[in-house]
């Protein structure tokens, strides 16, 4: 069996003939923890690829603003830049990144990555402009005690949305909220049940589809959860949210696989054995977050940058090392076969959570990104807020959202 490592090693040997003696200095622009993850392999990179990679970190928002400015003015970006999945549609199609398919034949690496992750780095012209760095298969975390007390098994609960709400009703009788905030239900449905051929908010002809059944169902179910009093109105990443994760204040959280790592290490380390992981309800598969590496056209060391990216991103051993260190979930098929993924996790009560995550990753259907994704997402979730918090009518707010998006997208 040809392992990824062999392909990469062959590629590197081919390049090695052209390698220069002195280390080329490369700058990696990104956000934490990319620097900590880089530190694991920084020294090695000097010998193996002849590059000295220096990180320049900023917080997530500032980093992307800085990148936009650099793209706009033609100066100021590093040699390798991190791009979050929320912005990948914009940057891949904007013309400021190197076309990795044409310049370096990136397409041959397609099978190393889960389909959904690989396709997110693809622009509308069909070429690849970014390589997946980490990803977030969507899972449901549940507080074991609440599930046991309800008398339903976890499989029963996740069978369909109806059974999920049934679980919620049982919890309500005991005064326990089902989810942190009702909007998560909408988010899950919107992102994971995309009709084939469509992007999340647009169809293949760039028409806006936010008034279709998927969105109506998402909004209706979220509103139902809110009306039934099933959510706790706790915002993610707030102090209350951290407390809730520690104490199991609410029963279920939908998030990416990376949340498990965080919960284990610093959010709720004392809650060992209290949480479990499961698939999302109703047989859906989706992703939460993810980031990519790309090479800006303005870089003067594009070749060296690509050499490094190949060496760094396509080797499953390195990816697993990063995963163990910081919890960044590897987007490499070969990584899921690593023994680390088969280990039972004591934090989740001995469950083989990583194996589940890897399995989910392979089942997520790719969704085409669209230039207007960022805008549409903001508008739609603003509308959701009005429906949940301000009692606006669902049909009306979706129609308003469509109007708003239409305005904005004319610029794209």
């Amino acid at each position: 069996m040809i392992k990824t490592k062999h392909i990469v090693a062959a590629a590197i040997t081919a390049f090695a003939a052209q390698a220069t003696v002195a280390d080329t200095e490369l700058q990696l622009d990104g956000w934490p923890d990319m620097d900590k993850e880089l530190a694991l392999h920084q020294e090695e990179a000097k010998g193996a690829v002849g590059v000295d990679v220096k990180p320049l970190m900023n917080d997530w928002i500032a980093h992307h603003d800085k990148l936009k400015t650099a793209m706009a003015t033609g100066q100021g970006a590093g040699d390798i830049v991190g791009v979050d999945v929320e912005f990948i549609g914009t940057f891949a199609n904007a013309g400021g990144l190197v076309n990795l398919s044409k310049e370096y034949g990136a397409d041959k690496f397609e099978n190393l990555f889960p389909a959904y992750a690989w396709n997110q780095g693809r622009a509308l012209d069909g070429d690849i402009y970014a390589i997946p760095y980490n990803s977030g298969p969507g899972v449901m975390y549940f507080w074991r005690d609440h599930v046991t007390a309800s008398g339903m098994s976890i499989d029963e609960i996740t069978k369909s949305w109806d059974s999920f709400f049934e679980f919620g009703a049982k919890l309500k009788e005991k005064g326990i909220p089902l989810v942190a905030d009702a909007s998560i239900i909408a988010q899950t449905i919107i992102n994971t049940t995309v009709e084939s051929g469509n992007s999340v908010y647009f169809d293949s002809e760039d028409n806006i589809i936010v008034t279709n059944d998927r969105f109506v169902e998402a909004f209706t179910l979220a509103k139902k959860a809110r009306d039934m009093g099933l959510d706790a109105s706790i915002g993610s990443w707030s102090g209350e949210w951290f407390e809730a994760l520690n104490e199991g204040t609410y029963a279920v959280e939908f998030s990416g696989a990376w949340l498990g790592g965080f919960m284990e290490r610093w959010i709720a380390p004392d809650a060992t054995g209290k949480w479990g992981v499961a698939n999302l309800p109703n047989g859906i598969y989706g992703t939460w977050g993810g980031s990519f590496f790309a090479i800006p056209k303005q870089s003067k060391n594009a070749d060296a940058a690509w050499k490094f990216m190949e060496w760094y991103l396509m080797d499953e051993d390195k990816a697993v090392a990063r995963f163990t260190a910081t919890g960044g979930f590897p987007p490499l098929n070969a990584a899921y076969k690593d023994p680390a993924f088969q280990e039972p996790m004591p934090y989740f009560g001995g469950q083989k959570a990583r194996a589940l995550w890897g399995d989910i990753a392979s089942k997520i259907t790719p969704v085409k990104p669209n230039k207007g994704d960022a805008v549409a997402r903001d508008v739609v979730f603003q509308a959701l807020g009005s429906v949940l918090n301000d009692n606006q009518d669902i049909t009306k707010s979706l129609k308003d959202a469509e109007k708003q998006i239409k305005r904005r997208v004319r610029a794209l």
Partner: protein, 331 residues
């Protein structure tokens, strides 16, 4: 005061010297202003022209400079017919006025008390009040988000405690409902006051500092004269101190206006980039950031900024017409 006697004796050279002296006086202000003007021309004029140019084009920043397309007045049309721009303007003005008035009502008397009555720890108190101004916006926003938290935030916890207290609870805090704590940052009705409250906390100390230095410039002779005339504490304040700091009040109000217009970071961190429920907390700066940077419709954002400029120009024109002469202290 010496009087030059040369003028009678040497008319020809003197007129040259006079002219040179006069020229020095006339040229002097330009000399003093030159660094400011040069910096302004380089760093302020070009962005203004750029924004003007951009307002007639369609441009997505991440596509680089070459990607502009000319669209004429279309951006202005979209800017003016956009509901959100009026909503964000309304929000901005509402919060600006609310926080501005509150701030002034607090800062002016407080500064007066600090200037006249409190001798011992004056610097300490002024320094303490000034601290919020110094804090990084993100830290402020995080602290306040925590304090405004619905279930565990400081304010709601305090309210609940007061509600429980025996006498005061039933008299003053009977309206508190521990079952339904106030959702400071989520309920549309509360969002604007919550943000305004944070603004007051952050900036009132700055105003106190300005006013204290203003009060301290009032010459002691005037104060003594007033006391001899029988002026008491409040009278001193109202008739002597207040008018003397009028230019500073003018300055601070102007700054309030500008601060309100530029308010961006704190609501952004506290409410998210779309300004919270129903965009109730969306300020005009946030909206321009949203349109220009997040949604990358830079042309429309530029048109919005010119529209805003025109709007402010009119308002400021009226403001200066009414208060300018007195505020500027022009002779």
């Amino acid at each position: 005061m010496t009087v030059s006697t040369h003028s009678n004796e040497m008319p020809a050279e003197q007129s040259w010297q006079n002219r040179w002296a006069n020229m020095k006086v006339t040229l002097a202000p330009y000399g003093f202003l030159s660094p400011a003007i040069i910096l302004f021309l380089i760093f302020n004029i070009f962005p203004l022209l750029f924004a003007a140019f951009m307002s007639f084009h369609l441009w997505k920043p991440s596509e680089g400079l070459g990607a502009m397309t000319f669209v004429g007045w279309e951006n202005y049309y979209y800017a003016i017919t956009d509901e959100l721009i009026y909503k964000s303007l309304y929000n901005t003005i509402f919060m600006g006025v609310l926080s501005g008035v509150t701030m002034h009502l607090i800062a002016i008397p407080v500064a007066y008390i600090l200037a006249t009555y409190i001798k011992r720890f004056r610097n300490l108190f002024t320094g303490a009040f000034f601290m919020p101004f110094v804090t990084s916006t993100v830290a402020v926003a995080l602290v306040f988000t925590n304090m405004y938290g619905e279930n565990f935030g400081l304010f709601n916890s305090l309210l609940a405690t007061f509600h429980e207290m025996p006498v005061i609870g039933s008299l003053l805090f009977f309206w508190v409902d521990p079952e339904n704590p106030i959702r400071w940052l989520i309920d549309v009705a509360f969002i604007k006051p919550s943000i305004a409250g944070m603004q007051v906390w952050k900036f009132f100390g700055f105003q106190v500092v300005i006013y204290v230095s203003g009060y301290l410039t009032i010459s002691s002779e005037i104060i003594e004269a007033a006391e001899v005339d029988g002026c008491t504490g409040f009278g001193k304040f109202w008739h002597i101190a207040l008018p003397s700091i009028r230019p500073f009040i003018f300055f601070c109000i102007t700054l309030n206006l500008i601060g309100a217009l530029n308010m961006f970071e704190e609501p952004f961190v506290m409410l998210g980039k779309t300004g919270g429920t129903d965009s109730a907390g969306l300020t005009i700066s946030m909206y321009m950031y949203l349109v220009g940077w997040v949604w990358e419709d830079f042309g429309t954002a530029s048109a919005m900024s010119w529209f805003l400029f025109a709007f402010i120009g009119v308002v400021t024109g009226i403001y200066f017409l009414l208060f300018g002469k007195k505020g500027l202290g022009d002779s």
